[in-house]
Amino acid sequence: MTGVLPVTLEDSTKVVQALLHSGKEYVCVMKLHGDVADEQVKSVLSEFEDTIYQRPPLRASVKRQLRTRKIYYLNFLEKEGRNVLFKVGCEGGTYIRKLCFDVGEVLGCGAHMQELRRTRAGPFVEGAARFVTLQDVAYWFMEWEKSKDEKALRKFVQPMETCLALVSKIYIRDSAVDAVCHGANLTAPGVVSFETGIGEGSMIVIMSLKGEAVALGKAVVSSEAIEKMDHGVVALVKRVLMPRGTYPKCWKSGED
């Protein structure tokens, strides 16, 4: 298997959980075990464009219990003999090998996964500006060590905030940043702006006005409610990302 594999460095490893929940996209070659008409393959593939049930395969790193996964889209690209090329957008944790097997069962002839390439992992896309190979990493890092020119570093590394591009954001005042860094829950007066589509309980990221990720959190109210609130808790802090003391402390101890 080849393709997009986001690698988080040191402190940014904390945001990896946001990536695991964002969707994935693959291009796959499926090998059919019998001759089937193109139209039939297309029709069966589209049946899987839904919430599907999957039991993780024998060789899996998770508990083998039946679970559901969403297939956002499943597009037939081409067919040559018994090889079928398709593109699939799905929820993280979907086994494409299993998907191919199941498509084969519905077709009646059987099928297996021949080749797989990940073209997307959440916000990370194949062919994007800083999409690099291991060789590129080794080369640019050597250039950086030789020249100490930061440009070389920025050729292959990008800020951890990229990982959070698909997570709903709440931007807060400078004066609220350090309290959040100390684990305090986010309250309405600290909110400057926010994105639409936040629901009760959804994962959010608390951002500074400079676009730095401050903490991952869980919204306790929806976007609509945040707009109207002038006091009260907006989001619980789950994972602090910014070190304490980056911004000045603007709260008195002993006060709420």
């Binding site: 298997m1 080849t2 969707g23 291991l134 990008q158 400079k210």
Partner: protein, 80 residues
Amino acid sequence: MPRSAAPWEIERKLVVKFEDRTNLKYGCKPEERPAEEFMRYGVINLDKQAGPSSHEVAAWVKRILKLRAVGHGGTLEARY
């Protein structure tokens, strides 16, 4: 039943409650972090080749960059 939208197909709008400015004395725009910090709070969008496992590839990145820790988002099977 209409299919559900992929996370990257969802459009979000920014709602501004207050106009506020940020003090440039504190913090730093992500793209402008100094080298060492930029690395520490960095991520690599890697094109994994066939053969090694995701864990092996992450370990190689760690060794090449002489880092303490790396993580990766979503295992890709090693084979092929």
